[in-house]
């Protein structure tokens, strides 16, 4: 086995641009102190972002590896660190280390396949990396379906990008749904699992599901009901993390450490670990 030496010491990252996605989600574009991409990664992998004296937390990388200039992180304001990050401006510095964790199997199980991406809320962030990767290598994949839901139209992240770019891609269908409509919304209204059932996807595809635990549970149940096999479905787990290198014990679940063995799991793998997620 090739071992990496990781001393948990970060590098300095510079925020070059900030995009306001929703009232509580911002996308941060980050480069290293030389102005280059901080490190290579694969879709689904994460990085530890921090502010000295404030804290450090694991965030999924929402830009594609095909982007060689910078990385992006879409971050929801939920706690002390994210509150602080939301107050930063372009030019401000943070700390960054990684990449951590495994990746969506974009070059193996997903390659050459029809793909269905299902996401709820901020969980589109890790999928965006994979979706963009697939679009940048479009000829390597079959049909792409994207089902994405959020609380309200104002809570849809990457809305401009979805409407201007994703819906225009060849052999691609994008389905959006929201729980609470506003007067401008003329799309579907309802929860992701219900809409999923209504659309009734055929089983000739690989599915990648990312969202709040409750959404994942309902979607998985419907997938199985519709005849999908667990081996066709990939999802992600999220537990608190500190070290990122499988030592500090925080993200331990069964014999797995989510920071190194995850965050991506094939759904049949979850049958062998305690239901503690």
């Amino acid at each position: 086995m090739i071992q990496n030496n990781d001393n948990q010491i970060p590098m300095v990252g510079i925020i070059t641009e900030i995009f306001e996605e929703t009232s509580d989600v911002k996308t941060f574009r980050v480069v290293n102190s030389k102005g280059d991409k901080a490190f290579d990664h694969m879709p689904g992998q994460c990085a530890m972002l921090g502010v000295p004296g404030v804290g450090e937390a694991m965030f999924s990388i929402s830009s594609s590896p095909t982007n060689t200039k910078f990385m992006e992180f879409s971050i929801k304001r939920v706690g002390v660190l994210t509150e602080y990050l939301h107050k930063l401006e372009p030019g401000d510095q943070i700390t960054i280390r990684g990449p951590y964790g495994n990746a969506f199997p974009v070059d193996t199980a997903l390659k050459g396949q029809n793909i269905l991406f299902v996401a709820g809320g901020i969980a589109l962030a890790p999928l965006r990396s994979a979706i963009r990767y697939v679009f940048d290598k479009r000829e390597d994949y079959g049909y792409v379906d994207i089902l994405y839901g959020a609380r309200s139209p104002k809570d849809l992240v990457y809305r401009r990008e979805i409407e201007k770019s994703w819906t225009e891609k060849p052999n691609t269908n994008v389905f959006l749904t929201i729980d609470r409509p506003d007067e401008d919304w003329d799309g579907h209204i309802g929860f992701v699992p219900d809409y999923f059932k209504k659309i009734g996807f055929s089983t000739d595809k690989v599915v990648v599901v990312c969202g709040p635990p409750i959404m994942i549970k309902f979607v998985l149940a419907i997938l199985l009901e519709m005849g999908f096999k667990k081996e066709q479905v990939f999802t992600t787990l999220e537990l608190r993390m500190k070290c990122g290198i499988g030592k500090c014990g925080r993200c331990n679940i069964g014999p797995k450490y989510v920071c190194v063995d995850g965050p991506v799991f094939r759904v049949d793998e979850l049958d062998h670990i305690p239901d503690e997620f």
Binding site: E56, R240, G246, N252, V260
Partner: protein, 349 residues
């Protein structure tokens, strides 16, 4: 095998201390701990257990990772000096030796090596000592640990008026260096001289109340059924979540990473011991997957008895040292868990 007169040991300690930082069980009042030896130290190799465990030397309660200076919005990261000393750990009992193997697996194996642990561990020399009088709370033999024949690279026994030394791997550069350090005090001895002591220790072990505790049920195929066992519901109840068991455990390895704002403006990033028994250990913005003490209590024992063995080739994460048995303020410990969850086999013992 070699031996040295017990009365000559202080000379040997002094010789070792010229070449390395020597840590051994030192007595301070009622407390016995691995501490750095000096001329005035009161060495106690006879007493069985130290309060703290040798893990302190490799995974200190607090360890600095790096420091940063923040000037305006600019961050400057500075490395802290890498640990670079030879440490001799003298008089480590068999259970604690195994515990270091457990930590080695976690910190030195897998996709990543922990550089801080490695730096401390690499230059260390561990000299074990057989347990002449095991305690009633000892159950190391349940984990196939033999206190009459500890497994570190330099092994020692105290027998009659001598301390016996056995170098299992004399060719290893590290131990060669150690041998050179102390050889002037050693005389040749024969293994038969410690054989009666070894036999005596083994006989004592067999009569201990928990030496035969049965771990047969703790296998990977039973992981989910044990996790879902209804026994946890009442087992955990007395637990007050104080974390004493985790801090006094020689294998508990979880840590937190925190910031310390120093007075001169720098911010120190350090890691410190943490405990899966604490509610905020797994707390996230969207909730806590281990919501009550039941889940936290269960995690600790599942990790030691099932998760760690599954990950590391059957090696249990408990070494039977009995410290948690002595220390728990509500008399709740891994023995109760093994007996309750482990089932019928243990009822007759």
């Amino acid at each position: 095998m070699y031996k040295i007169l017990l009365e000559d040991l202080p000379k040997l300690y002094a010789q070792m201390a010229q070449n390395a930082d020597v840590y051994m069980p030192l007595r301070r009042g009622n407390e016995l701990n691995f501490e750095k030896w000096n001329n005035e130290a009161i060495v106690d190799l006879e007493s069985l257990k130290t309060v703290n465990t040798p893990k302190d030397l490799f995974l200190p309660q607090i360890e600095n990772l790096y420091s940063s200076q923040v000037v305006g919005t600019k961050i400057n990261i500075e490395n802290v000096p890498v640990f670079d000393k030879t440490v001799v750990l003298f008089g480590v009992k068999a259970c604690d030796v195994r515990a270091i193997e457990v930590l080695d697996n976690v910190y030195l194996q897998g996709d990543f090596v922990d550089e801080f642990y490695k730096a401390r561990r690499e230059k260390s020399i561990i000299i074990s000592l057989a347990c002449n009088t095991p305690a009633k709370t000892c159950f190391c033999s349940a984990f196939d640990i033999d206190p009459s024949s500890p497994q570190s690279d330099v092994r020692t026994w105290i027998c009659n008026e001598y301390m016996y030394f056995d170098f299992t791997d004399e060719k290893h550069e590290k131990y060669e260096r150690f041998y050179d350090m102390i050889k002037e005090f050693l005389t040749e001895a024969d293994e038969s001289e410690v054989a009666p002591l070894q036999k005596e220790i083994q006989e004592k072990i067999n009569t201990l109340p928990f030496s035969g505790i049965c771990l047969e049920k703790f296998t990977p195929e039973n992981m989910l059924s044990i996790f879902n066992s209804s026994e946890w519901e009442h087992l955990y109840r007395p637990c007050i979540g104080c974390g004493t068991c985790t801090y006094s455990c020689p294998t508990c390895q979880c840590y937190d990473i925190r910031d310390h704002q120093s007075k001169c403006g720098g911010i120190l990033k350090y890691r410190c011991w943490d405990s899966c028994m604490y509610p905020d250990f797994t707390l996230m913005a969207h909730g806590n997957p281990r919501f009550t003490q039941k889940e936290r209590f269960r995690q600790r024992f599942m990790h030691k008895l099932l998760y760690h063995p599954e990950k590391y080739d059957g090696q249990f994460g408990c070494v039977g040292c009995g410290r948690c048995v002595n220390k728990c303020p509500v008399s709740l410990n891994i023995l109760k868990v093994i007996k309750t969850i482990g089932g019928d086999e243990n009822d007759t013992k």
